[in-house]
């Protein structure tokens, strides 16, 4: 457990010292989503109708931007080798790195969501559910992305491969995430969608450490 916290602490400190990377995802999220009202026109009903889908898709792309760095820096400077040979199981190290990734990427996106809600004329009930759904959904994005990042590690131009691998796997999170907000906006219960999101999160919490660690061992051979 101590090693787990140490890895999180180190990754957070690294992110804090290289703030540009963390800002990049949030700024991309806000700016890209803000383009849609300009492109579509300021029709409040239309904007409110498409808002959940757009916010989710843009959040997904913003996370995608930051995925390549997840293991690459450690791979290139030899830290990954040392992590593999440390007493901490590699699966735990992977989970720690993913958690740190979510804290520096997913959490800022959630914090920026109210800004977009205003931009898209989303009401308060919708915003609450949106943030709850993102709280469950953005960790899924980090977890699924970690598998993609680990698998493409040894490959040439791995950064280009990650979206191809990961985007299809983001579809469940996207469907339930948008479904929850849509239900809330139309006065239905958002709970079933949120529960399904939580289920996907639990499944990925198990799969990601195992799959990523196996892929990393392969990359380090």
């Amino acid at each position: 457990m101590k090693g787990f916290l140490l890895v999180i602490g180190r990754d957070l400190r690294l992110a804090l010292r290289q703030r540009a990377d963390a800002w990049l995802a949030v700024l991309f999220f806000v700016l890209t989503a803000a383009l849609f009202p300009f492109g579509i026109g300021p029709e409040p009903n239309l904007l409110a109708r498409i808002a959940p889908g757009i916010i989710w898709v843009v959040a997904l792309l913003a996370v995608l931007l930051s995925l390549e760095r997840l293991f690459l820096a450690d791979f290139e400077d030899g830290s990954l080798e040392q992590l593999l040979l440390s007493p901490l199981p590699l699966e735990a190290a992977v989970l720690a790195k993913v958690l740190a990734h979510w804290l520096t990427t997913g959490l800022p996106l959630i914090a920026a969501a109210p800004l977009l809600a205003v931009l898209f004329h989303m009401d308060l009930a919708g915003l609450g559910v949106l943030m709850l759904a993102m709280l469950l959904g953005t960790p899924i994005l980090s977890l699924v992305g970690a598998v993609g990042a680990a698998l493409t590690l040894g490959a040439r131009r791995g950064g280009v491969l990650i979206p191809l691998l990961v985007l299809p796997l983001y579809i469940p999170a996207l469907i339930f995430g948008v479904g929850a907000v849509d239900a809330a906006l139309q006065g239905f219960a958002a709970r079933p969608h949120l529960l399904l999101l939580a289920a996907v999160l639990l499944v990925m919490l198990v799969i990601t450490p195992l799959a990523s660690a196996a892929a990393l061992r392969q990359a380090l051979e």
């Binding site: 101590k2 090693g3 140490l6 890895v7 180190r10 400190r13 690294l14 010292r17 290289q18 290139e76 400077d77 030899g78 830290s79 080798e81 040392q82 992590l83 593999l84 040979l85 440390s86 007493p87 901490l88 199981p89 380090l220 051979e221």
Partner: protein, 217 residues
């Protein structure tokens, strides 16, 4: 005393045989010196010993027990120093060292052993300097300080003296001698002169497997 040994090891990389039928035995307090031309498989052998690579044949045993049975236990008793220094550019020398030492579980006497490790490789004056400002020799010394900061029984050193100045090579030799005196063992692959006392030589030159049949004309 436990023996670290390899029996008829066979290494294959990228479909090419690197070496075959390699045997070695390393008792406590011993040093194994790997020699051989570039590409003879010194680094591959060290990665095999660390458990980063799996042998295509043969076995590595610690005290008669295959290391593949308990890879995490094996990882805990070794330090592997490869070609990469694992130094983070935005962390200071102390922070870099502290992370790896703490991960190895030396909790209590950490402050003291960190300072001693820095002192050992003359890094005390650089303690607050971020990794990106270090020269390649200084980065190497920081990687070597990791060996001393957290104790481990087996040191696997791949070209440890690359980029080191004369005085630092002497410090490395002294650290290895002290490690061996306390019962530790060390495997070194190097091309430069490094005073190891009385190492067991292991030449990988003659261990290249016979050429494949289709290559014989």
């Amino acid at each position: 005393m436990a023996l670290f040994e390899g029996r008829s090891l066979h290494c294959r990389r990228g479909g090419r045989d690197v070496f075959a039928a390699l045997d070695f035995a390393l008792p406590a307090g011993g040093a194994l010196l790997l020699t051989g031309p570039n590409g003879s498989g010194k680094s591959s052998l060290l990665r095999l010993m660390a458990g980063l690579l799996k042998p295509a044949g043969g076995a590595l045993l610690w005290d008669g027990r295959p290391i593949a049975e308990a890879p995490e236990e094996h990882a805990r008793r070794l330090h592997y120093l490869g070609h990469l220094d694992a130094v983070k550019p935005v962390l200071s020398v102390t922070e870099n060292l502290q992370f790896w030492a703490a991960l190895r579980g030396t909790t209590k006497a950490l402050g003291g052993s960190l300072d001693a490790a820095l002192e050992r490789f003359a890094l005390t004056d650089l303690a607050a300097v971020p990794g990106r400002l270090l020269s390649s020799g200084q980065r190497r010394r920081l990687a070597l300080a990791r060996l001393v900061a957290a104790p481990a029984e087996l040191w696997l050193l791949d070209e440890p003296s690359v980029g080191l100045d004369h005085a630092s090579v002497g410090r490395l030799a002294a650290a290895i001698a002290e490690h061996r005196a306390s019962g530790g063992r060390v495997v070194v692959a190097t091309h430069t002169a490094l005073d190891l006392g009385d190492p067991i030589p292991l030449s990988l030159d003659s261990l290249a497997p016979p050429p494949l049949p289709e290559m014989v004309w």
